[in-house]
Subunit: 121 residues, 2 copies
């Protein structure tokens, strides 16, 4: 059902946790399944220097959140905003069609964290 990359990021997720002094925090819910995810970012100038996430979501939500955090670390805010759930799913060698909705959680969480940062600036 899942690609090797999805299984890798599900069983060994990167950047799980929280950042107590985060510059931006995004907390979002998935309307389709009710799962939630929280993402924390540290920003220096224009660069996302650190990112952590927490989720109660399923395997696909964990894997896409993990991959999304890897993709945005060290990127500028604009580069991070250009990342969509499709980008993340592609980086994982795809997701089953029925699980694509789970990848929206990572994209929404990321955008919410960046918006939170901009609001506080």
């Amino acid at each position: 059902m899942y690609s090797q990359k999805v299984m890798d990021h599900f069983t060994n997720p990167r950047n799980v946790g929280e950042i107590p002094d985060a510059d931006g925090v995004g907390e979002v819910g998935n309307p389709r399944c009710g799962d939630i995810m929280k993402i924390f970012i540290k920003v220096d100038g224009d660069i996302i220097t650190d990112v952590k996430f927490q989720t109660f979501g399923c395997a696909a939500a964990i894997a896409t959140s993990s991959m999304a955090t890897e993709l945005i670390k060290g990127k500028t805010l604009d580069e991070a905003l250009a990342i969509t759930n499709k980008t993340v799913a592609d980086a994982l060698d795809g997701l089953p069609a029925i699980k694509m909705h789970c990848s929206v959680l990572a994209e929404d969480g990321l955008r919410a964290a960046i918006e939170d940062y901009k609001r506080k600036m």
Copy 2:
């Protein structure tokens, strides 16, 4: 969002794994979110002597599957069939309404495993 019992069974799920020489195996998918779960039972006479599960589902799916396996171990097949997703959710001190669909996975998986056992008898 989740009760203490849900968090306990999510972070420390009971009976995770597989039974290679299982007497019945149920594999079911959740049409609402696309998550899957697999349940293995050992049956002696009329009694479920062992049970294990695997799921790629969310926190609520893991917790309800874990609790369901605890509830059916040592029970007769008829007692196990009387257990519904509502029974399991109640045993966990409830689930958020939006996550009740996740608990159906455990009930369906359990029924499928018992049906598989009866078919093979």
